[in-house]
Symmetry: C2
Subunit: 228 residues, 2 copies
């Protein structure tokens, strides 16, 4: 019985790895689409999102089957429950990469970003691409220190997000109203992607250690800039 | 054993009702804050969101305990797994109501919306308030027809959301750049709230009938306007 469970859990874990890696590839390609006005890359991200949705459904079904047939307890149960929640968050991250690609496609053949904000979006892209690669790595290494680093670094993205609003409302702003709309939407997508990465990092700590980092006082609950 | 399980499941269900009702109250009050520039209402929503986060954690812990101690199968298992996912979605809906309140607070003493878009935001508010009340009702009545109605009506909100962009880019737009930023953010919050309501409706159908409506071809997967 234990051997079967471990084998089946391994299959679910492989699918979760696939999702995590798929999300990383989606954000990398979405960034390529946005920053290079690359319509083919945008279309690939949009078309590929369906695959992530299917992986989520498959993981969910598999986890429910595991719970029904094997009645896991302790660490195994924690892993199964965390996996259900992780798959759902990865699915959302994939949606956000798709939204970046869709915004790129809508603006095409123009760029969805103007020169004034390019550097900020390059940094946000770099941040989300890095953090999504780190999540894939943590899934394999179970390196909770790296997960903690992701949680602590969250305000880097919030600050970049805030800068986009500062530029759009400054006297020097050179874009159109449509470009403000795109700036706000894109900023929000990048920032939400990062927020989800933080919540994945938290779940991974919980999965590995059974310790819930939302209950650690020094780690502030993820706050969004949201133009407060 | 069965009696204990049913009692404990009832406790979790009561907490889920509380969350659903709390989300409804939060969006009603957030709308009051936004549409009447009511800073006290805004602050209440912001302060009250913590309660929804705590309810989610409590539901999750309780569900994991139920899975560990009672090893539910069939319908009971489906209810427990759906409950974990529902609580997580309600938590996100509460966050979105909080974001609406935060945007109101940031703009105060000015209104975060201008007269030109007031009617659209009134309609979005009405939509989200109604749909969140319907979710609370479905949790008790298990009325899957009402849940299906929520899924089908999703495009009403998408159309309203699209109208906000049309106004902001039209020649007649009378607002500032900051007001475009607020319009985009608020539109996104309302639209996401509605999207989450649709996904709750889908999960409730799954919970009640075991039927996964994401697999029904005529029900399109929730698509967001996202300024595509």
């Amino acid at each position: 019985m234990r051997v079967i469970f471990t084998q089946e859990l391994k299959m679910v874990a492989d699918n979760l790895d696939r999702m995590s890696n798929g999300v990383h590839l989606a954000i990398v390609k979405a960034g390529q689409a946005l920053l290079n006005t690359d319509i083919d890359a945008a279309q690939e991200v949009i078309d590929g999102d369906d695959q992530l949705d299917k992986l989520e459904n498959s993981i969910l079904e598999h986890c429910v089957k595991l719970l029904a047939q094997q009645s896991p307890v302790a660490t195994d149960l924690r892993v199964v429950v965390a996996t259900i929640r992780l798959a759902s968050t990865f699915e959302r991250m994939g949606d956000l990469a798709r939204h970046i690609a869709e915004t790129t496609r809508r603006a095409y053949p123009n760029s969805a970003i103007i020169d004034q904000t390019r550097e900020i979006f390059e940094k946000m892209q770099e941040f989300d691409a890095t953090v999504s690669a780190e999540l894939t790595s943590i899934l394999n290494t179970r390196d909770t220190e790296l997960a903690e680093k992701i949680i602590v670094n969250d305000d880097v993205l919030d600050n970049l997000h805030k800068q986009t609003f500062d530029i759009a409302t400054s006297d020097s702003w050179e874009g159109s109203r449509q470009q403000i709309i795109d700036l706000v939407l894109l900023g929000r997508y990048y920032e939400r992607f990062g927020d989800h990465a933080v919540s994945v990092a938290r779940m991974l700590i919980y999965m590995v250690s059974g310790f819930d980092p939302t209950k650690q006082p020094q780690l502030e609950k993820d706050q969004e800039v949201s133009n407060k």
